[in-house]
């Protein structure tokens, strides 16, 4: 795995949102399937299922469309699950959590760049400023280049 897509970025590939055009552009030239870890898949699937079964009819409808697209992409091997060195990733996320001089980001925003770094990724695809800062400090190239 050379390119890591965090949760918000992945959601923009299965949901038509403001970041979607930038997300499409960033992955357009990457080989498919795009490798994903089980954490990324779980977070996407849990988030979508919660909204599909939640009280807001508008979100239910959009989440159902996104769920269909997500399942389609998995079947068509646009995305494919891959392994990750979980112990190393969690250890790195914990160390970042202890080292941040200010209030640390939530665990998920720590964990995604930590997984990417542990997998040896060269690029980190994210719209999340906190995660992007950690990934950049770990030496990864950020996509999109600017937010």
């Amino acid at each position: 795995m050379t390119h890591y897509l965090d949760l918000g970025f992945l959601l923009c590939l299965v949901t038509k949102a403001s970041g979607s055009p930038l997300a499409w552009e960033a992955v357009r030239t990457l080989p498919q399937p795009l490798p994903l870890t089980t954490l990324q898949a779980l977070q996407v699937e849990n988030g979508l299922r919660k909204r599909m079964l939640g009280p807001d009819p508008k979100l239910q409808a959009v989440a159902a469309r996104a769920w269909g697209l997500w399942q389609f992409y998995l079947r068509e091997m646009v995305f494919a699950l891959t392994l990750a060195p979980w112990d190393a990733a969690f250890a790195l996320a914990r160390s970042w959590n202890e080292r941040t001089p200010e209030e640390p980001p939530t665990s998920s925003f720590l964990l995604h760049p930590a997984i990417a770094a542990s997998c040896g990724c060269t690029h980190f695809l994210s719209f999340q400023p906190e995660s992007r800062a950690l990934a950049a400090a770990a030496g990864m190239t950020l996509l999109p280049v600017k937010l």
């Binding site: 050379t2 949760l7 918000g8 959601l11 923009c12 590939l13 299965v14 949901t15 038509k16 949102a17 403001s18 970041g19 979607s20 055009p21 499409w24 552009e25 992955v27 357009r28 080989p31 498919q32 399937p33 490798p35 977070q43 988030g47 979508l48 919660k50 909204r51 508008k58 979100l59 409808a61 959009v62 989440a63 469309r65 996104a66 697209l69 992409y73 068509e76 091997m77 646009v78 494919a80 891959t82 939530t106 998920s108 925003f109 040896g120 060269t122 999340q128």
Partner: protein, 78 residues
């Protein structure tokens, strides 16, 4: 992409040399100018035809504002 590397290059620059290899692609490792072995990248086969994610998503009938609400709602809970 470089397809041949000396043992010294390969061990010192493992990441840069192997990260760009596609599954099934290989690098010849040489020792004193002679082929010593071959490193083959493991992994999933590539799709034969790439899927245009943007084109597919553009067909959705809901607006980007509704989609952004969904993304924001999910991200607010992780």
């Amino acid at each position: 992409m470089k397809k041949t590397a000396s043992v010294a290059e390969f061990t010192k620059q493992f990441g840069p040399i192997t990260n760009d290899l596609a599954p099934g692609e290989s690098v010849q490792v040489t020792s004193y100018g002679k082929v010593h072995g071959r490193y083959v990248r493991e992994g999933m086969p590539r799709r034969r035809r790439k899927f245009d994610l943007g084109k597919r998503l553009a067909q959705e009938e809901y607006g980007a504002e509704a989609g952004q609400q969904l993304v924001d709602a999910i991200l607010s809970e992780v």
